[in-house]
Amino acid sequence: MFAAVILAATASAQPPSYKAPRTADGKPNLSGIWQALNTANWDIQGHAAAAGPLPQMGAIGAIPPGLGVVEGDELPYLPEAAAKKKENLANRWTADPELKCYLPGVPRATYMPFPFQIVQSAKTILFSYEYASAVRTVNMETAKEAPIDSWMGWSNGHWEGETLVVDVTGLNDQTWFDRAGNFHSDALHVVERYTARGPESLNYEALIEDPKVFSRPWKMRMVLYRHEEPNAQLLEFKCVEFVEELMYGPLRKKTGK
């Protein structure tokens, strides 16, 4: 038996399998409020701390360090795309769609520095993100094709044992992966895997495929933590009103002329 345990551990490289409590329809219950505890939204690759864009913001506006969430820490950009990433990075303080409170897309919505809530029912799983009231519904019945592109994509889901597998297509090319200019095209295809690792956390994995931008698929992986505080709930971060000056200021009527 001892040998079997060692064999199992090396074969899967996962902690012993945890089985989440079940919903009424017998599926692992992933309902709850979750949040990533990393700095992937700043940069999905490993990064040291750095000064931010505004000196007057001092340490508040500085960039925190992070280990990165990309398997192998390498992003296999095609040559032209690598140049585009460099350009995005150089322009990030004006070009990042997050600046304008635009919907973050998938997978970025998962690791924004805001909680999200899963409301799980048999036919539909709702993902509601506090950031910008971003939302998406995962169709758990027969998979349907995306009729058009959208910011949050088109999600079809199914169960593989303990894992919720979400296949996301129909993503437009308007979102970034992070604030460091990592980007994708409208050919992006994301396969997410959500697996309970204990009563208070999930293993999250996203397989990224985009043949217009990357030479091969790559994976990101992170832990999502359950909000345990009493009466935890999502609040509103309707950021549109915070960006109107940025976006429409120049069109404002000039007074005193």
């Binding site: 017998g26 939302v135 009527k253």
Partner: protein, 312 residues
């Protein structure tokens, strides 16, 4: 192998239970609030809360027979053709009802505003007069893609895309409105409202079940939403009752002593539709604010140039 056997046994036991953990009504599905009946009863129908079946049919026929241009009223003619895009009321599923207005009761109208509210409105109008195109904050919330005028709570039928999706888990009822992709997640676990210092555009909703009805209590509004001139003190009670497979009766009572002389109640039938709800990414595609302000600046410039020419 032992794990697999246990899993099969667990599934067999759980398959016998209902779709939701607790034995609560299932409100789930995709619903439309589209209606041929206005919020307020026309003055000529005062005192008449219900049509006969024949009158209701005639009214529906008349309303659905209007052209999109007639329906747009003051927003025509500089407007795209609604029916071309399937956005006309006649092109979507509409609830059938015998009501003459969504507001219930003998009066069928929003109660009179308090003197305080009238003063507030007059002051707001005066402040905005001549400034409607100064900056984004002078534009309607809907045009700014902050919140739709009918988004609520309370939820009202909108000109189009009057759709919502309800998803439930054992402790929450989530209402996803198509416009503007808001998901109101209502806890039914008896937790208290947010502290009074935390105010939100959509307030803070708490739900509980009374038999077959979901009762939702909403407070903590900001003063920015201003639902029909109301203040941050707006208190809303909504009731959702599943009537049959294809119908939910949705009722709300709005109470704000600083705004209306008495609370008022409206009842809207939600009818099941096939859907799906599509993403309504409003802000991301919004050209309205920029183009409106740009147009205003152009008109001002033209007027200034014309004045310069005249004074020469």
């Amino acid at each position: 192998m032992i794990r697999a056997a246990a899993s099969i046994a667990a599934t067999a036991i759980l398959a016998a239970t209902s779709a939701l953990c607790q034995d609560h009504p299932d409100l789930q599905g995709i619903w439309t609030s589209a209606s041929v009946v206005p919020l307020e009863r026309p003055a000529s129908l005062k005192g008449k809360e219900f049509y006969t079946e024949q009158e209701a049919a005639e009214n529906a026929k008349r309303v659905l027979g209007m052209t999109s241009w007639e329906r747009l009223g003051g927003q025509a003619p500089e407007h795209y053709n609604m029916s071309q895009y399937g956005l006309d009321l006649s092109q979507v599923k509409v609830a059938s009802t015998l009501r003459t207005s969504l507001i219930v009761g003998p009066d069928g109208r929003v109660p009179p505003l308090t003197p305080e509210a009238q003063k507030r409105n007059a002051e707001r109008s005066a402040r905005n007069r001549g400034h409607q195109f100064d900056g984004p904050e002078n534009r309607p919330l809907q045009e700014r893609c902050l919140i739709y005028s009918t988004e609520g709570p309370p939820m009202l039928p909108s000109a189009y895309n009057s759709n919502l999706q309800i998803v439930q888990d054992s402790g929450h009822v989530a209402i996803l409105q198509e416009m503007i992709h808001s998901a109101r997640i209502i806890p039914t676990d008896g937790s208290p409202h947010l502290p009074s210092t935390v105010r939100q555009w959509m307030g803070d909703s708490r739900g509980h079940w009374e038999g077959q009805t979901l009762v939702v209590d909403t407070t903590n509004f900001t003063d920015k939403t201003a639902f029909r001139s109301s203040t941050a003190g707006l208190h809303l009670v909504e009731r959702f009752t599943r009537l049959d497979k294809d119908t939910i009766v949705y009722e709300f009572t709005a109470d704000d002593p600083a705004t209306w002389v008495r609370p008022w109640t409206a009842q809207i039938q939600l009818t099941r539709i096939e859907g799906p709800i599509f993403e309504f990414a409003c802000h991301e595609g919004n050209q309205g604010v920029a183009n409106t302000l740009s147009g205003a600046r152009a008109m001002e410039k033209a007027a200034a140039e014309a004045a310069r020419k005249d004074s020469k």
